[in-house]
């Protein structure tokens, strides 16, 4: 799951995750982040570098 807040500054970044994930299928991630108002690079890396593991772990639940 995407962390709720940015590790560095503490701002909430997960609220744009669903939209971000959908839009990067067709758009440039950097532009999507600009558009969603994720300004600082600490917050941007949270979304850019996130790897979703839920699908991988779910069968072992």
């Amino acid at each position: 799951m995407i962390p709720v807040r940015c590790f560095s500054c503490g701002n909430v970044i997960s609220s744009v995750w669903d939209e971000y994930k959908k839009r990067i299928q067709t758009e440039d991630p950097g532009k999507v982040l600009d558009d969603l108002g994720v300004e600082r690079y600490c917050c941007r890396r949270m979304l850019l570098t996130h790897v979703e593991l839920v699908d991988l772990l779910a069968p072992y639940q």
Partner: protein, 262 residues
């Protein structure tokens, strides 16, 4: 003391604070981080959790969700008339029950006080697959960032000294315009003009590049460009007011103590 507001929205404030010392500006910044009370989930009763997240992780995620509320309606548990046992004026409970397959969002939580709700309903809490289930009751209490960062009202608060740029004799070579990372210098006729001085990062690259030594970059030691942001649990203007109020209150307490000594 003088305040000049540059930008003020619900979650962000940017203003120039002048006529104060650096220690006062820093006190205000620290106060937004550690002294402004907000509500956050503090206790979680887990009745069922068969999701991919451990109970602890689920509780952590719930705690980090900013709750929008009027903090004035609530007491700190340790100062409440109930003596910290928990009553309607010091805590509020939020329940969440969901069954997969679905992504559970902060907006799915049901609060007992209609004035208390997650600031962003689109925060994903957990993704539930087929047959996964979560049933939890969360208790939110008032606190400050001093105790735990989930109660931190202000995020990414900071300030810099007000930049001062003095441009003297110049041969309009345009090198400084090229090199400025903030793109705030412009050639206009036979001189260089500064468009938005507030954006200057004080990097002094322009000063170093200029062969004529025409640019001098300095800063005003008594004037600050301050920026505050919140995560939605409180508005930016409330945050600034509460932070300043907390400094005033503590300064008053200090005076009282000093008077008893004198």
């Amino acid at each position: 003391m003088d305040i000049d507001i540059i930008e003020l929205s619900e979650r962000k404030a940017r203003f120039v604070l002048s006529g104060v010392s650096a220690s006062f500006a820093n006190a205000l910044r620290r106060s937004t981080l550690a002294e402004v009370p907000v509500l956050a989930i503090d206790d979680v009763n887990i009745y069922d959790n068969t999701s991919v997240l451990f109970d602890e992780q689920l509780a952590l995620r719930l705690g980090l969700i900013p709750l929008k509320a009027n903090a004035k309606n609530y007491n700190y548990p340790e100062e409440c008339s109930c003596g910290g046992l928990g009553c309607a004026s010091c805590q509020v409970s939020l329940t969440l029950s969901a069954e997969g397959p679905k992504i559970v969002h902060a907006g799915d939580m049901v609060s007992t006080d209609p004035d208390v709700r997650p600031a962003d309903s689109s925060i994903p809490i957990v993704e539930l697959k087929e047959k996964h289930k979560v049933v939890v009751e969360a208790v939110a209490r008032l606190g400050t960032g001093r105790k735990h960062s989930k109660w931190q009202a202000g995020v990414a608060g900071g300030y810099k000294n007000m930049p001062i740029l003095i441009i003297g004799d110049c041969d309009t070579c345009g090198k400084c315009v090229e090199v400025c990372p903030r793109k705030i210098l412009k050639l206009e006729g036979n001189r260089v003009k500064v468009t938005e001085i507030i954006e200057c990062s004080l990097c002094k690259l322009c000063e170093k590049t200029c062969d004529m030594n025409a640019i001098k970059v300095s800063d005003d030691p008594e004037s600050f460009v301050m920026t505050f942001e919140t995560s939605g649990n409180i508005t930016a203007s409330e945050l600034a007011i509460e932070a300043a109020g907390s400094i005033k209150k503590r300064a008053g307490q200090l005076v009282e103590i000093l008077e008893t000594l004198g």
